[in-house]
Every structure is written in C-alpha cells, then in structure tokens.
C-alpha cells in the first residue's frame, strides 16, 4: 500500500491548545507544509506574536522567537538583517498587527524588509476573551462592544492588506480565506508565493488569512465558517493587492 498523504514534518507532535473550529490549525499547517516543500524548515526563524498564536513555537518545527505585542516585524527585521540567508517570518493576529503593531508592520513594509508576514484576521481579540479589534465588523458584538461595533463611535474596520499594498516598498500582498477547502488550497498557493518572494529577495510579503474565532464570535464551528463567508468576505475582498511583476 502506498502512502498518499502524511502529516507535514513542519508540525511537531504537540497537540494544539486552539479551540474547536478555530482556523489557526489550518494556518499553521499551510505554513508548515510550504516550508517543508521549499526545503526551508531547517533554515527558517519564525517570530511568534502575542495572541492565541503566541504558543505557535510549540507546534511549528522551526527555530522561533517570542515577540512583545505588535513588535514581531521589528524583531524579524533584526533577525533578517543579521542572517539574511535565513527565511524569516512573523505570524501575527489582527489585534497584534492591526492595532498595537501598526507602526512596526507599516515600517517593515516601508523598508521593504525581505520577510514574510502571515496575518491571521479573525476580526476579534481571541486570546484575551473576545474584545473588539480594529478589524471587528460594523455591528459585530464583542465583549468591549456589547451592542455591536458602532462605526460612528469606533470607526470602520481597518483594511490592512489594502493599506499595506499602498506602501511603495511592499512587494507582495494577498488576502485569502480559510473557510472552505477550495479557498484553503488558494491560501496555500498564496503562502507559497509569499515565501518564494522572500527566497527571490523581492522584499516584503504578506498574506492575510481570513479566519474564524468560534469562541470569540459565540458561534459553533460550522456557523462560524458561514459567518465568515457571509460577512467578512464582502467587507474584506479576497485577492492580490500587490505583486512583483513576475510572481
């Protein structure tokens, strides 16, 4: 009997702490599979950021460093500028990247840092208990927006990919979704393109992964996937926002 599928060696044997239905597991697997397929697992340094994914170093089979809230792109900059031959990535949530870490992500793009950013956007602060994020949709209820986000009070959700695509030195920016196998296959291609971009010294690459947070959203896993499709994709359109010409 031939083996037609096996778990990627990019993931460790440790069981994740993520909630049932959370798409972090899928996002981890995509990163792990891509790094394995590119033969980069042994030559990669990852930057874990504050949020549910802070413990990602327990699950990803690469050297990793833990970063303070929002600072992963600056830490990645220091690493990449020291060992430019290594593959360096950050794995950041939307509370981390789109709120406390806006300066660091904008300026990593601004400098055209040759790093890859995996940006998990689930429109909420998951780890701290479901508070409003800059990415929380209008009307979406959270523990700090109990009546739903009111745009006239808290503004409209921040579109990070569109924003970062405007940065002159950004190289590759794409938004994909993890709510359905068909989209997950596209997401994997995006992650592959982002890491390839880094291997080819093309500079800053970012993939935004629309993700679910069933616990934070107060929905079961299936309803969460449907909610993502019905609510997030219309506001956060999928697609490539910036790409170097040959990619």
């Amino acid at each position: 009997m031939s083996v037609i599928f096996s778990k990627t060696s990019g993931l460790t044997e440790t069981a994740t702490h993520y909630c049932p239905g959370c798409t972090h597991g899928i996002a981890h697997r995509l990163v792990a599979e891509v790094l394995e397929e590119l033969g980069l697992l042994g030559e990669t340094i990852g930057c874990a950021s504050v949020g549910c994914s802070i413990l990602s170093y327990n699950y990803l089979n690469v050297d990793m460093i833990e970063c303070s809230h929002g600072r992963a792109p600056a830490v990645a900059t220091g690493i990449k500028r020291t060992v430019p031959e290594k593959t360096v990535f950050t794995y950041q949530g939307d509370g981390d990247l789109a709120s406390i870490g806006t300066a660091e992500i904008v300026h990593a793009a601004h400098r055209g840092e040759n790093i890859t950013v995996i940006f998990v956007n689930n429109a909420i602060y998951g780890m701290t208990g479901g508070q409003m994020a800059p990415t929380t949709l209008a009307g979406q209820k959270t523990t700090t927006a109990p009546e739903g986000r009111q745009p006239e009070f808290s503004g409209l959700p921040l579109k990070m990919s569109e924003m970062l695509a405007q940065v002159p030195s950004a190289s590759y920016v794409e938004r994909v979704s993890l709510h359905h196998p068909k989209y997950i296959r596209k997401a994997k291609k995006a992650v592959l393109r982002a890491f390839t971009c880094q291997m080819e010294h093309r500079g800053f690459s970012l993939v935004e992964l629309l993700s679910t947070c069933p616990t934070g959203w107060g929905l079961d896993p299936i309803d969460s996937l449907e909610w993502l499709e019905a609510n997030m994709i219309p506001y956060y359109p999928l697609g490539v926002f910036r790409a170097p010409e040959e990619v």
Binding site: I45, Y57, D63, I65, S68, A74, V75, G78, V83
Partner: protein, 350 residues
C-alpha cells in the same frame, strides 16, 4: 574627540556588528557616526521608526547572534523599557546607551542624571536587573563601552552605558584599545540559526504560564544577579581615607565634585569622594566600612535625589546622609558644592 563619537568608535572596536538607532538629542552623534563608520567595518547600521522598534530589532539581531547595540536619550529609554524587560527575561546579550537629559516628560536637552531610577530600578515590568556602567571621562566611556560587550556575553544580559549630555557633547583625548576589535561572538547553544534538520527547534521566550515554572526561571535570574553583584561592583575612591565628609557622585557630576574635594583640602578640610562606576550593582561595600573619621556623607546628583536612596541604604543610618542636587539641565558649580560642604562641616546641615 566628542564623547558620543568616542562611545561609537569604541563600540566598533568592541566588536559591535549591528546598530539600530532613532534620532533624539543629545545622543545623535552616536547613530550619525555609526551610520558612517559601521558599514566600513563590515557592520550594519539601520535607522528604526521608533525607539520601540529599535529595541526590538536589537532583540532579533542579538537572538540571531549579532553583537548588537542601540543608543538613545531619556524619553527614548522610557519607550524601550518594554523591550529591555524582554531582553532581561530572555537573557539576550546586548548593549544599550543612555545619554541622559532632563526630565520628566520631554524635559529638556541639557545634561541631567534623572534616569538613575530608570537605569537601576528596572523601568520595565518584572523582577530583573541590568548592569549599569557609569563613566566619568571619555577615556572611561570608551573602555566601558568595550567592556560592556564582554560583560553582556559573559552573563547573557543587556548592559547599560549611563552617559549624559555633558559627557556626550564634551571633547577630550581618548586612547582606544584596538586589540579587542577582532573578538567574535562564539556560537552559543541558544542562538537562533535554523535547526538544519539535525537538532530540535530552539525557542527564545519569556512567557511561562505555569507559575511554578516562571518562579524557577525568575529565581535562576536572581542567582545570576547575585553573582554579578558579587563580582562586578566597581567604584573609585578619592581622598577617602581620612575624610570627615564623604561625597558620593557618579558620571560627570563626580568630576565637579573632585574639584570641590580638592578645594576643601586647600581650605584645610578633609573631604573625599566615592564614585560608583557601576550604578547597578551599587557599590554598597564602599559605605559598609566608612573611615572612622567620616562624620557625614553627601550625595550630589544632577537630579532631585535618586542615587541618594542607594547611599542611604548602604550607610544604614550610621552617619547623616545629606543631598545636593541640580536638575532640569542645570550643572552644579564646584563653589556651590564647597559652600554646601562647609555648611555641613560647620554643623549647619540645613
């Protein structure tokens, strides 16, 4: 050579390979010098978008094996404290220079020593200590800068160089020890290199959700701090042997105090000086065995009384501890110090 440039050149000769900077007065000559000279020496200069980013770049670079440093001035150091706490927790060797200016808030840009607390009390969160080297001359600035990298490596810890706007901007001849420039960072078992598929992945982290595990980590750090406290205390004692009045001052203030000590001797009074060269670990032992002649101590600082706390703790109430300070960027004159000393010596301590 200007003080800030002496520090920057000494850093290159100390083997510094990576510098991350952000403009702030009065330390700008350090990043400017290194932007010019570090690439020529095969190193990297990168301007960060903020002090917060600079300290995190330092963290990443040093974690990947760079002999790295950053510099800033007081309000910039305040911004870096989150990262410094992280560097202490993860035990990353690196050097951080503070060319102090007046505070609080934006304060001013003239020399001050009002970051003594920030440099010795752990401005960031958690139980940690940072070695703080306080030079008083440009020669000592250069020597301490080179030594800072060695201490950082030896103890796997960040090291502060505590300078100020006066030392940073003044000019003095400096003789550099160039023999150290070829020292390299040895391959350490914690540096992030990628696991090359021949070892398990390495993680540099500070998060320990299990309280028992965090306590063990913290107590291990405390053990290290204890070793540093025992081995790395430095101070200069000047005319202290038969002193009736003992000054305590650090950095540029100590230079002014020396003038006053000499002046008092000429007037027939026995005064001496204890100059801490390490602010942490503080040279408490210099005060544990006060000369029998000593009747009082006076702490002089360019702030409103910060090192004073450590002096009082060290003197343990055996003699009165007085204070004289100027702040906001005002620099004390030797005559002011002499007048204050004469008041104390004549018994009019108020």
């Amino acid at each position: 050579m200007k003080g800030n440039e002496a520090l920057a050149l000494a850093a290159i000769h100390g083997g510094c390979t990576h510098f991350f900077g952000y403009p702030i007065t009065p330390q700008n000559e350090i990043p400017e010098f290194l932007a010019r000279e570090l690439p020529k020496a095969g190193g990297l200069f990168l301007q960060a978008e903020s002090e917060i980013a600079a300290v995190n770049m330092l963290y990443g670079a040093a974690a990947a094996g760079a002999r790295a440093m950053i510099s800033s001035s007081s309000p910039g150091l305040a911004l870096m404290q989150e990262g410094i706490s992280m560097l202490a927790a993860t035990e990353i060797p690196c050097v951080i220079v503070n060319v102090m200016r007046g505070g609080p808030g934006l304060g001013g840009i003239q020399p001050a020593q009002s970051d003594y607390f920030q440099m010795t009390r752990g401005g960031g969160n958690g139980d940690y200590r940072i070695i703080s080297l306080a030079p008083a001359t440009l020669q000592e600035s250069a020597e301490m800068m080179q030594e800072a990298f060695a201490l950082a490596q030896k103890y796997r810890t960040p090291v502060f160089i505590v300078s100020d706007g006066m030392l940073g901007q003044m000019m003095e001849p400096v003789e550099l020890n160039k023999s150290r420039s070829k020292e390299r960072v040895a391959e350490q078992p914690w540096i992030l290199t990628g696991h090359h598929n021949n070892r398990s992945p390495r993680t540099i982290k500070s998060l320990r959700l299990d309280p028992a595990e965090l306590e063990i980590h913290n107590l291990r750090l405390q053990e290290k701090y204890k070793r540093i406290s025992q081995a790395e205390v430095r101070f200069e004692a000047y005319r202290e042997v038969d002193a009736e009045l003992l000054f305590c001052a650090f950095g540029s203030t100590a230079r002014i105090v020396k003038n006053s000590v000499d002046d008092l001797h000429q007037k027939g009074y026995r005064a001496g000086l204890i100059r801490p060269q390490t602010l942490w670990p503080f040279p408490a032992l210099a005060f544990r065995s006060l000369p029998k002649s000593c009747r009082s101590v006076i702490c002089v600082e360019m702030n409103c009384g910060q090192m004073l706390d450590d002096v009082k703790l060290a003197v343990e109430g055996r003699v009165p501890v007085h204070f004289y300070g100027r702040c906001g960027g005002m620099i004390p004159e030797p005559e002011e110090l002499t007048a204050r000393a004469l008041d104390i010596l004549s018994g009019d301590s108020q």
